[in-house]
């Protein structure tokens, strides 16, 4: 096996870099371990092929090369000729399709370590774009596998969000409800209703805790009533501030010529949504929205609108806010009569 590796290296030095060689060696070691235990490497390689058609050609070909010491593929050409490798891969793909399930099971049981450690190994190396693609895919594989593991662990409890509750309470008895697994404390009633009630209360207290983190100053207050008080005050103050700011904004822009009697809100909004269109084309679109009195103005410099973003805030609603901001920007430029 070492000889084959040496020959690989000598052939591949011209086209690959050192990190890839390291990986090769490491992969080969892994392969040896795998082979000793499961004896499934050709199928493993082919499983990889079936799984991802666009798997990185280099690494797949390495797999093939490594395992090919045992198989007939050894005589196939190495090197950077990807077409040959593609031929290899497609062939293996076609003949292993039906075995994918069993191999999949084997893969999950024994090869997870490889894929996950592969992922880790790859992270530490210099990445090319193709390598990144592979990593993502294998990561997805690993993630789905870990998800399935977790799911199998939780199949008894049926509610993963409740595991933390289990840890935090001292358990004397447990009882399974339909969806929620709640542990009862010592001496507490365990009939369906009280457990449901307790689960509900747990949910509510969790939410209150979240709100406590959100609202400043809630930590000092204890008890639900006090916290609710704080929350109410905070929401009120936020709303008041928003109202004040919007009034201030309105006051600061009296130059905006708005024929408010004619203007319906839908037109207003439509104007905003049309704004990029307006910039691109002629200003004739503006005639409908009576915001800019074109008849009174010689030439409205529309090109100023979009580039003139003085601030770069991240608006909550993507296009709407920036357009309204640009509107206010142009208004501050002043109108030339």
């Amino acid at each position: 096996m070492l000889e084959s590796l040496v020959s690989l290296e000598s052939m591949s030095l011209s086209s690959m870099d050192v990190s890839v060689l390291e990986r090769l060696k490491w992969l080969q070691q892994q392969q040896q371990q795998v082979l000793s235990t499961t004896n499934a490497s050709p199928e493993l390689l082919q499983f990889h092929g079936t799984n991802n058609d666009e798997l990185l050609q280099n690494t797949f070909s390495h797999f093939q090369m490594l395992g090919s010491g045992f198989g007939p593929n050894y005589s196939m050409g190495f090197g950077p000729s990807h077409e040959a490798m593609d031929g290899c891969i497609s062939r293996t793909n076609s003949c292993q399709m039906d075995q994918a399930d069993t191999v999949g099971v084997m893969l999950k049981n024994s090869e997870e370590n490889i894929t996950i450690s592969l992922k880790n190994k790859r992270k530490s190396e210099v990445k090319t774009r193709e390598e990144e693609k592979t990593e993502k895919k294998i990561k997805v594989e690993a993630e789905t596998e870990s998800n399935m593991k977790v799911k199998s662990n939780l199949s008894n409890t049926e509610a993963s969000s409740e595991t933390s509750k289990q840890k935090s309470k001292a358990a004397s008895e447990t009882q399974k409800l339909d969806y929620i697994h709640v542990r009862a404390r010592r001496g507490q009633a365990t009939d369906r209703h009280s457990l449901a009630e307790r689960a509900r209360r747990e949910k509510i207290s969790k939410k209150m805790k979240y709100l406590q983190d959100l609202v400043p100053g809630c930590n000092k207050v204890t008890g639900r009533a006090g916290m609710l008080d704080e929350i109410i005050n905070y929401v009120q103050s936020l709303q008041r501030q928003v109202e004040f700011l919007s009034m201030k904004l309105a006051v600061l822009n009296p130059e905006l010529e708005l024929a408010m009697e004619d203007l319906s809100v839908k037109q207003f909004q439509a104007y905003f949504t049309n704004l990029p269109v307006v910039v691109a084309s002629k200003p004739s679109l503006m005639v409908d929205a009576p915001l800019f009195p074109l008849d009174q103005q010689g030439s409205l410099d529309l090109s100023v609108i979009n580039p003139n973003q003085a601030t770069t805030i991240e608006a909550p609603s993507a296009s709407w806010e920036t357009q309204s901001q640009s509107l206010y920007n142009t208004s501050s430029l002043g109108f030339q009569y």
Binding site: I231, Q239, Q241, E243, A250, P254, E261, S332
Partner: protein
């Protein structure tokens, strides 16, 4: 040049600005019930006062009662009035909606502040 008289238009202009600000708030987080409610309300009746001030007046005159359960319920009712669409929510829903509403309000404030700053400078 015929400028429309600003006195008549300022209030409705303010209303429009407020309306648009609320709409931005509603559009900023569309996964939540309060956002949908707010959107509906704004689209159906555009020039109504979103009436923050009236709500504030109501809550300030509220007194605190004896038992805690009743107290909490009262506070929840107040919260219901504050959050758009809160009338139709029970306790659990309100608590989950309030969190997102608070975050979006804070965000809205940041945006408005920067808009105002923009116009001042």
């Amino acid at each position: 040049m015929n400028k429309p008289s600003s006195q008549i238009n300022s209030k409705s202009f303010e209303q429009t600005v407020k309306h648009e600000v609320d709409m931005a708030l509603a559009l900023s987080a569309q996964e939540f019930a309060w956002s949908r409610f707010l959107q509906h309300k704004l689209l159906s009746s555009p020039h109504e006062d979103p009436s923050y001030s009236s709500k504030i007046l109501e809550t300030s005159s509220c007194k605190q009662d004896g038992k805690e359960g009743a107290e909490i319920k009262k506070k929840l009712k107040e919260l219901q009035k504050l959050v758009p669409g809160g009338e139709e929510m029970n306790m659990e829903e309100i608590l989950s909606e309030v969190g997102s509403y608070i975050v979006c309000l804070e965000l809205q404030m940041i945006v408005l502040k920067s808009l105002v700053q923009d116009n001042i400078s």
